[in-house]
Subunit: 108 residues, 2 copies
């Protein structure tokens, strides 16, 4: 009665939105790629499916310290890994984490 469009389009089934333990990890992974520079870094690493180092800095219009910050964020999310190789550091994708991200989004 009277609640016209509400009836049509809204589903008012009560839902339990209880603690979604995966939401935090999902958000963490999404956050890792929630910046254009980090998207490009991830794509670059996937593209060569191996690791790179300060060359990433040359490819981005950002200061070395800024790129290092982004790499740190990506590392903390687990999406990438860094491996010390002498004075250089090689970064590569963590396939498991990438897969987890893909599963998350695909499962939406």
């Amino acid at each position: 009665m009277a609640k016209k469009s509400t009836q049509k389009r809204c589903d008012s089934t009560p839902v339990k939105l209880k603690a979604d333990p995966t939401a935090d990890d999902f958000a963490k992974l999404a956050w890792a790629i929630a910046h254009p520079a980090r998207v490009q870094i991830v794509r670059l690493l996937i593209g060569r499916e191996a690791c790179v180092c300060g060359e990433i800095v040359d490819q981005l219009p950002l200061a070395q310290s800024t790129v290092s910050q982004h790499l740190k964020i990506l590392k903390e999310s687990g999406l990438i890994q860094g491996e010390v190789d002498g004075p250089k550091v090689c970064y590569c994708i963590n396939p498991d984490r990438l897969e987890r991200l893909k599963d998350f989004v695909a499962g939406l």
Copy 2:
């Protein structure tokens, strides 16, 4: 010559990481779901594949104004849409945007 592991794991092919026009949109979409509350909102809306309104507030341990902010962020990303229905507002997923997000991540 000395650069042992570098030879093994690093790919030093020079890359053009020129302006990636999709990176911005990708980051924007990722940013939209880069918060646990927004992940839950999106999941909720997908779950009932219709729209909801202030009920979202009841399902989250957040103040009404805070939830409204998150909804605004999601709306700005295009992931969800709001439709005024009298004094209420019904939110629903924007399938095109969601698909775009999925394509982005799947294409990584």
